[in-house]
Symmetry: C2
Subunit: 409 residues, 2 copies
């Protein structure tokens, strides 16, 4: 990647890029008093793009959003509820998602074709539309262009998440400052494929929706698609990006001299959000970062990294601070990718535990200390080629089981 081409904007959020307001409130879908309805509004038509879950059972809002984006690649707003996924809800669910779209459009004074809809929560229950509609009416009064607006929105999209997830960077394009920000939620049923749980990116860059779609997909494959909490791909995964163009740079193309800087910045935002989701995985106490290098191809490295990060045995061992590298190599061996069984190196942080597939004696006390930290890095070198990848996940704990043994009740 060379030198870092972006600056991190501490405390920035989805309202930092020029032209965006956001807000959130409690409409009554969650049992607690926490926000459960949120909105992002752009003051001008924003070039927009989205990626969606690959699960065959896609929730009603995804189809509504797909149609909105299909009408011209432009969005003014996205309306989101938490507490109910509006998935597997049949014709009524479809009608409810469309009602959310049109009611939000009316309240925000935009066209309904310019409103995306997203939902997250329990599957298979109908939305309490009276509460949603009452909330939508109050939303315009909650819109703010400051960080409180971003914060309220971040809160409104959470379910079992413990922390709000946001990231913001600035990049220089044509000598102008362009900002890129994102918000996300996700904690369980996390094994994204094409998109994550829910993610929202705002930017004031000037970029066409076609190119934004291409870049969003490329960056998603290296960020949201490289995390797993539990191997379960949701019915509601969706990532939406909106570009206001108000930074007034000359429109980005692949040959624009600052195009790479924009992609790097977007990748940073998406990777930070993805890592935040992994760290906040249901019941998690640690972030696990697995890097695989020396593979036959990047695709092989990705598959192996995701197999390691998805292994319940590896995740349990990390929870217990047990330097059980046997489970790591067993995961490497079942990933379905080319591996030379005699040339594998494994490190836990800086601690070499396997070299050329042979166990290396290591200090168990030092390993224990390292594994007790809140971030555990697993490095695998296959010593075959130049393919590499990084994936993120979390440990498997008692609390994951507790949370998921009684989610509906």
């Amino acid at each position: 990647m060379g030198k870092q081409s972006y600056t991190i904007v501490e405390g920035g959020g989805v309202t930092t890029p020029k032209g965006f307001k956001a807000g959130g409130l409690h409409c009554g879908l969650k049992k607690t008093e926490r926000h459960d309805l949120g909105v992002i509004l752009c003051e001008v038509p924003a070039a927009a793009a989205a990626v969606y879950t690959t699960n065959l059972f896609q929730a009603a809002p995804l189809q509504v959003t797909r149609e909105a984006l299909g009408a011209g690649g432009v969005l003014r707003a996205v309306i989101v509820n938490s507490g109910n996924a509006n998935a597997c809800t049949g014709a009524q669910g479809d009608a409810d998602a469309r009602a959310m779209q049109s009611n939000a459009a009316e309240a925000l004074d935009v066209s309904k074709d310019e409103v995306a809809v997203a939902s997250t929560g329990v599957i298979g229950e109908l939305l309490k539309m009276d509460r949603v509609n009452a909330g939508i009416e109050k939303l315009p009064g909650k819109l703010r262009s400051d960080l409180q607006g971003s914060d309220d929105f971040c809160q409104a999209i959470l379910t079992t998440d413990l922390v709000k997830k946001t990231s913001c960077v600035a990049v220089e394009i044509d000598g102008r400052q362009v900002t890129i920000a994102g918000a996300a939620k996700g904690s369980g049923m996390i094994h994204p494929n094409m998109a994550t749980m829910l993610g929202f990116v705002t930017t004031d860059a000037k970029i066409g929706s076609g190119l934004l779609q291409e870049v969003l997909r490329e960056v998603t494959n290296l960020s949201f698609n490289m995390i797993t909490v539990d191997g379960d791909t949701s019915t509601n995964d969706m990532l939406v990006a909106m570009a206001s163009g108000l930074a007034d740079n000359s429109e980005l193309t692949r040959s624009h001299p600052d195009f790479a800087a924009f992609v790097d910045g977007l990748r940073h935002v998406c990777t930070e959000l993805a890592k935040a989701i992994a760290r906040d995985g249901e019941g998690a106490t640690k972030l696990i970062e697995t890097t695989v290098v020396g593979a036959d191809s990047d695709e092989a490295a990705q598959a192996i990294a995701k197999t390691i990060i998805g292994s319940s045995l590896v995740k349990s061992a990390v929870y217990g601070a047990d330097a059980n590298w046997g489970r790591i190599i067993a995961a490497v061996g079942r990933a379905g990718q080319p591996v030379n069984v005699g040339t594998v190196d494994i490190r836990l942080g800086d601690i070499l535990v396997l070299e050329q597939s042979r166990p290396i004696p290591f200090d168990e006390e030092i390993a224990l200390e390292y594994l007790k930290g809140d971030t555990v890095a697993i490095h695998v070198n296959l010593n075959m080629g130049s393919g590499q990848a990084t994936a993120w996940g979390c440990d498997l704990t008692y609390d994951y089981v507790r949370i998921n043994a009684a989610y509906r009740t």
Copy 2:
């Protein structure tokens, strides 16, 4: 399958078929006083076959067993230790597996080419060969042809298993009684592909090793390969079958009138062992049986059934007795198989919860009672074709995490 072509032999074990003795003892590989070294001996050369893990990192004993079987498809004995997998142990591990083979051959007075070797336990540590060798010298004195011999062997192959796993049936071939028996171990790192953890089948049927190999693979695909505990495929999975021929039937061929009865009997033994492994999955409180019918093909049904049974969210919900069918349909939708999203029926036991992909109101109290049982059946009908499959797994509990957070220590 038509009418049942076999009779269950209650209390039968690997010593029930004519010609087999077995035994076990504690040699010192396990920290507790439980048996950790076992042997099965056939008084005549037995036609033999085996299937192995597909993990690229195969433990040393697998190569030794593969070579023994390659030398003529005949075995007299199989020697097994628990407490140490002898996997990822390099040249010393290979030498140790070969020493187990030749020392057992000497002690049992058979050719070393007629001895299979299997190991299970921790990965990456060298065997304490002084203890193993001392145990092997005592093994001949522990051989018994009664059920105590079978019992001692079953005990000797266990690791985190809580219960011994055995099954036995009788089938009539040429008017003679033929018995088929099996023993197995397995509790964690269970996601077999081509073979299970460790399984041992004995029979007194007369059958050539080539046909026995074919049948063993076919039956394995419908039994051991249809279970999962945690999605992790071991480095040591192995299933060995030995046929003494002492029932003195005319040699089995595919056109033999009782061939189907033999296969049915073998399938019953392997399925019972596979289900016992799933029920005894690490930390498990329940057996989950998932049946998928109406799929495009049997292969599609198998993939979907295994995706459901492998879902951490489904497993956690079953532990919590939560009728969370949304997680089941989400698993159906991410299995990578053809599914008509409008025609899916789901039942929990006899309780219909989804029909033509629409939620059906059901009595939560009755569902709770059903889900509190020790066996939970999930039925999915895709209403597309005639493909079907059944898979077995277990619930995900606090104890799975507890057991695996500190396995090595």
